[in-house]
Symmetry: C2
Subunit: 389 residues, 2 copies
């Protein structure tokens, strides 16, 4: 186990009906002018928008709106939010939505007190040293952004998708009300499942040794997602399945709680970001396609971890099989699960062809080789993307 610092100050309010605690929580922060950040309008169809507005009015808060945050949130939208905050003296950025909405809210919050352009943070040209307070009402179990300091933002003009992570970007509180996810469409539920599993796997496939607790915590989340994912797809308003998925998504990526002292890999995320920076596909679609191929490309570097993954997470019977066979069976089980729940397995399924791959590979390694399980150069990335065609 490596040395580490862990600090996660986000307060979580979890459970059916918790969305009605919003007003009180905002009042406790003493906020007076709220930037309400949301997406394409599903919160209006479900009535959540009205519930939020009503509570904010009840506590006498003034509301400024930033609607229309995109699934891959754009820096242009973030800049619009920053200007609104400055013009209207906003003192709380409230995200009501899924990971994209929350990420956009975080970028707005860190951008407001910074004199330069917010994109500097994404290019690592500047360090985040302050932020407006952030709060969230989560409507989609997926990214874990509700309990961490990270965000992913896209610049469509340059086809760049980049991330930042900062202690200043942890939400003050996040409301996790599983009933809000009952109406999430099947394809977004699928994407959420792939996303949270990928987050755990990025941490789990590590070269750090002597981390027995962390490995088990990762396996616990994976097993629970696998069991509950299909239940939620079969019965979208299944209270336990939705609650379990929501908790798993949050714990999967809440500041590294499950993998403290382990060096995660994250190469698959880096590769996927290049795909969805050029093609406007869902992040999780790219992950579903690339992750099993990354596994096949690297598993021999630490076959014991892949064997353990196969046996403990997928219940592969080890008896009579070689390590190689067990590891490959675990990778195959991952691919089959993704396929079974309806996630894509080939870039060509999404009409992505060979022609963009070299550019993606070059851009993926812009800051140097990616990944820690195995460091990947442009050639490696290209090979994995070609396996994914």
């Amino acid at each position: 186990m490596n040395s580490f610092t862990f600090h996660n100050p986000t307060k979580i309010l979890f459970g059916a009906g918790m969305a009605d605690q919003l007003g009180q929580q905002v009042a406790e922060l003493g906020s007076q002018t709220v930037l309400l950040v949301y997406g394409g309008g599903s919160i209006k169809r479900t009535g959540l928008y009205d519930r939020v507005i009503k509570q904010l009015h009840q506590i006498g808060a003034r509301i400024v709106e930033l609607p229309g945050v995109e699934p891959n949130p754009r820096v242009s939208t973030v800049r619009r939010g920053i200007k609104l905050c400055r013009d209207e003296a906003v003192d709380l950025v409230l995200a009501v939505g899924g990971g994209s909405v929350i990420d956009a809210a975080k970028a707005v919050a860190v951008g407001v007190p910074y004199e330069g352009d917010v994109w500097d943070f994404l290019l690592r040209k500047a360090k985040i040293e302050a932020a407006l307070p952030i709060a969230t009402v989560l409507t989609l179990s997926a990214t874990g952004s509700e309990m961490n300091g990270g965000a992913v933002i896209t610049d469509w003009e340059q086809n760049l998708k980049k991330s930042f992570s900062s202690p200043y970007a942890f939400p003050k509180f996040s409301i996790l009300d599983p009933t809000l996810t009952y109406t999430v469409p099947a394809n977004q539920t699928v994407n959420g499942i792939v996303d949270m599993m990928s987050h755990v796997m990025e941490q789990y496939f590590s070269q750090t040794t002597d981390t027995p607790l962390q490995e088990r915590l990762c396996e616990s989340i994976l097993q629970t997602v696998i069991e509950n994912g299909e239940k939620a797809l079969q019965e979208p308003a299944h209270p336990e399945a939705r609650a379990n998925l929501m908790l798993c998504g949050t714990y999967a990526l809440n500041g590294g709680m499950i993998s403290v002292g382990m060096q995660g890999d994250w190469a698959t995320h880096a590769m996927e970001h290049e795909v969805s920076a050029i093609y406007d596909i869902a992040h999780a679609e790219g992950l579903s396609i690339i992750f099993p191929n990354w596994m096949k490309y690297v598993y021999r570097d630490r076959i014991d971890r892949f064997v353990q993954f196969a046996v403990r997470v997928w219940g592969i019977e080890p008896e009579g099989k070689s390590d190689e066979e067990i590891a490959l069976a675990g990778i195959q089980a991952t691919r089959e699960y993704f396929t079974r729940i309806g996630a894509p397995s080939r870039l060509s399924d999404l009409n992505i062809g060979e022609e963009s791959l070299p550019r993606m590979a070059e851009e993926a390694v812009r800051f140097g080789p990616i990944g820690y399980f195995r460091k990947l150069g442009a050639d490696d990335v290209l090979a994995i993307l070609r396996m994914s065609l």
Copy 2:
């Protein structure tokens, strides 16, 4: 799963050598006068005391000392600390030690801004509404007090041992340096192992349904403690075993992270507190004796959980056995493990006889029946204590 609120703002600095980060962390809090709380002097023998003093001097902090905190920390000591803080305008309470030292520090910190006597909080006559900042350097893996808001304090004059828990009592930061535990005597290492396992089991044996992730998180800690406990006893300076135990102890009881939305039991703790309120035995000695007897007394109320415990935690082979047999085998495995590492199994081993049991049973239910897995009245407590003789 029940609804819940989770908020754990304690910052953790974990790893070999982290004790040397103390000065910088205190400086970041802006503290000027530090109450240094410690126990019987082992930190002087190991050199940790000098390391702490040197760092506090380097940042120009003034130091006031509260030495001699007892293994079952006494309210008289806490009162002495409160007076020191008031007289010397202390602005940080720094615990350097194990759970008892940290608990005493917390009680001092919450007592300072309160006009009445600190014991009021233990009797639930008053609510904690403020505290001095608290920080810790942990020297013993056991109680989890380094990352939660709870404390247990004893009044020897009245033979009362009581607890409080408050959001104000979370440490601002805790330094977890596993190398500091290499010199912990074997019996205290044993006590730590029993303590952390008991904390997890109090949460795990719950009547709350549909908590698959939480159950697995609990099992993960138990399995890891079981594996690493014996390693640390065989080789006290085993770096990985000590690091794994330290992480397990902290995660076992850090504000309920592993059991969010589950109602824990805690009857065994309540019963044990009555034993060690009268006899000055280590808390974990009492837990080791009572816990398996509590299990035997209640397991039929939810045999599936005890079956799962036996199979997943202890690797009991279920094939060809009844649920009853599997559950009992898990309870037996727990008893045998405690015995194997050298923890006591009978009150009579500690020279505790029948005569005090009725009084303990009455005092245990002073605020009403105890436990949530099964509510226990005085008769139940007496029966379990008699099983423990």
